[in-house]
Point group: C2
DNA sequence: AGCTCGGGATCAGTATCGCTGATCTCTATT
DNA sequence: AATAGAGATCAGCGATACTGATCCCGAGCT
């Protein structure tokens, strides 16, 4: 370590409230609005920024004068990036200390994405509630699992489900389940005759895909590419059940993680096939948290419960079952 | 976003200097020593902590009374983790603003690890110096590339070479070169007869390995495991050249990245063989930086130079050359 | 042009805050 | 018991971070 003590004293006089002021200004593009946001008089904010600018030795805010909105200079932008992280971190610290104080009560902020919510979350939640009745679980749904990780990193979430499969610092995590990709077909599709699907047969086939920026979609796309075929995407859908309904109505096929398939929805009956053995594709669903943050006993218990539930879903079963009696529909 | 504005005002009155005080106490286990460290009187620190404790509503420091050293409570530990990151972040902000001000002068803190330093760094450095003479490059060597990434994350380094091959947030990076693993053999070793080495032949063979906690070593180990053999590690060495000398003196063989091999050291002549085609193993060497930090033009240029140099090293060549005239020694 | 208005800077004044230095208290040591 | 070392406490002062009033400036209106 080059030694953080000797160079820590350098940011002489920079204090949290200055950074908060900078953020408020960035947000509102106005000193006076920033002031009301922070509960100060306008002159206070004006002086705070002046002090901050003196402290760091840079002009941070561009004041065009007159009624025009103010903006950050490039130095201001640079500092702002750090400021947001610092205040976020402080918020996280507060949350941690609250959680510590709350003990077995308090809140647990959990992030989920669609297909985790569908199958994994309800049983986890209900079992968790039985054992930790005084914990309020606050759920937050995001479309992309990467966004959830970002929220955990920023301290806005205590736990998040993820399907990226990697727990790089500052994230720690546990793997819950390996979820194989399967093909959803209209029940009477000719491709449904086989016991499995070879991606090579998808040339020109009509497909319902996920959003282009989805990790799932990326995985599927690269697998298809690897197989050297070009199906045609006739529709993109964010929503698993929508996709399934589209498939059920015969519009095309879809390749989705098994957990995303709703087997028992009457009007969305589809046939599910595994992929050919040498083309097997899967995602690993896990749960992550921030290594630096206080991991309450409740959070710990939530993770344990999730692991337990995931084990109970019995991944070994499902693909076997589905591939046998491969047309599963009500 | 749940909105960082509404809950930002919660850490009422917590300021940077309080966190700095907490850190100093954690470091010294003493109020008075913390005070001299920070340049305050002892009473000041005492009051700062008191204020901080009042602000967060937790006892943070355990004062056993008398001459016994103080320690942090669990709440103190929790807060400390955040505090270190916050102050580190502030330091990074300072460094960024300095770099911004310095323009084409100033410092660039670059992290390296052994085998990157050996081959990639010198030409990069010399070319960089030609174009950016006023930039001081501060080098820092770490044994493990993961540690370097940690330093970049903490803002202690502006750039770092890496061999983990992944640029997960908050790190961004560029790939420089793919470095294949090769076998180093004593020149007269019977295994050196072949044009390549099949890991399957390593059962019981004496090996010089790397440290057990090294990523390189982990990769090699798992490849060997996959091949289903059990060589015997007779020695572990951190130092590439030491390893090579040990091999040269006939003590055993070693599997190392090609860039780690010193081809022209007189008293360390070894034979180098590629691995069998289906057992090819490589690492990807890249260079990383922090996505939130100010990426100066100099840093940008350094990356470009490194990419350029890496391209010039001509990875295509070397393995071919070595496998042909496979005994390379002076 | 001149006027007006919105928004930031400035300034005086004050209440607060944060530091120092001296003193007090406590506990382990002798 | 006396001592020494370490933190808490307190008075006091100097710095500072607010408020509120005022000034200043540029854009847009008439």
């Amino acid at each position: 370590m080059t030694d953080s003590i000797t160079n820590r004293d350098l940011p002489l006089g920079v204090e949290v409230r200055h950074l908060a002021a900078l953020e408020a200004i960035a947000l509102t593009s106005s000193f006076s609005q920033a002031a009301v946001l922070l509960g100060y008089a306008q002159s206070a904010v004006s002086q705070q920024i002046a002090t901050l600018e003196r402290a760091v030795g840079h002009k941070l805010v561009e004041r065009p004068g007159g009624p025009r909105p103010v903006s950050l200079t490039s130095a201001g932008e640079v500092l702002l990036r750090h400021a947001t992280h610092i205040t976020a971190r402080l918020g996280a610290a507060k949350a941690d200390l609250d959680a510590l104080a709350a003990g077995d009560a308090g809140a647990l902020r959990v992030g989920t994405f669609q297909s985790a919510s569908a199958r994994l979350l309800p049983p986890t939640l209900s079992r968790f509630r039985d054992n930790w009745p005084r914990i309020t679980v606050e759920l937050r749904n995001e479309r992309r699992s990467a966004d959830l990780e970002e929220l955990v990193r920023a301290g806005q979430l205590d736990l998040a489900f993820t399907d990226t499969g990697l727990f790089a610092a500052p994230l720690k995590g546990a793997e819950l389940i390996v979820d194989p990709y399967v093909v959803m077909l209209p029940p009477n599709d000719p491709l449904a005759e086989a016991d499995e699907l070879d991606l090579g047969r998808l040339d020109g086939v009509r497909m319902i895909s996920g959003s282009a920026d989805d990790t799932c979609e990326a995985r599927v796309f690269s697998a298809i590419e690897r197989a050297g075929v070009r199906p045609q995407t006739i529709f993109r859908s964010d929503d698993n059940l929508t996709t399934q309904r589209l498939v059920a109505s015969g519009m095309g096929i879809a390749i989705v993680p098994l957990l995303a398939v709703e087997l028992f929805v009457p009007d969305a009956a589809v046939t599910v096939l595994p992929l050919a053995p040498n083309q097997r594709l899967s995602r690993s669903i896990g749960i992550v948290w921030h290594e630096d943050r206080y991991h309450s006993r409740a959070a710990e218990a939530f993770v344990e419960t999730a692991i337990d539930v995931a084990g109970g879903i019995g991944l070994p079963h499902i693909p076997v079952i589905t591939s046998r009696q491969r047309s599963v529909l009500v």
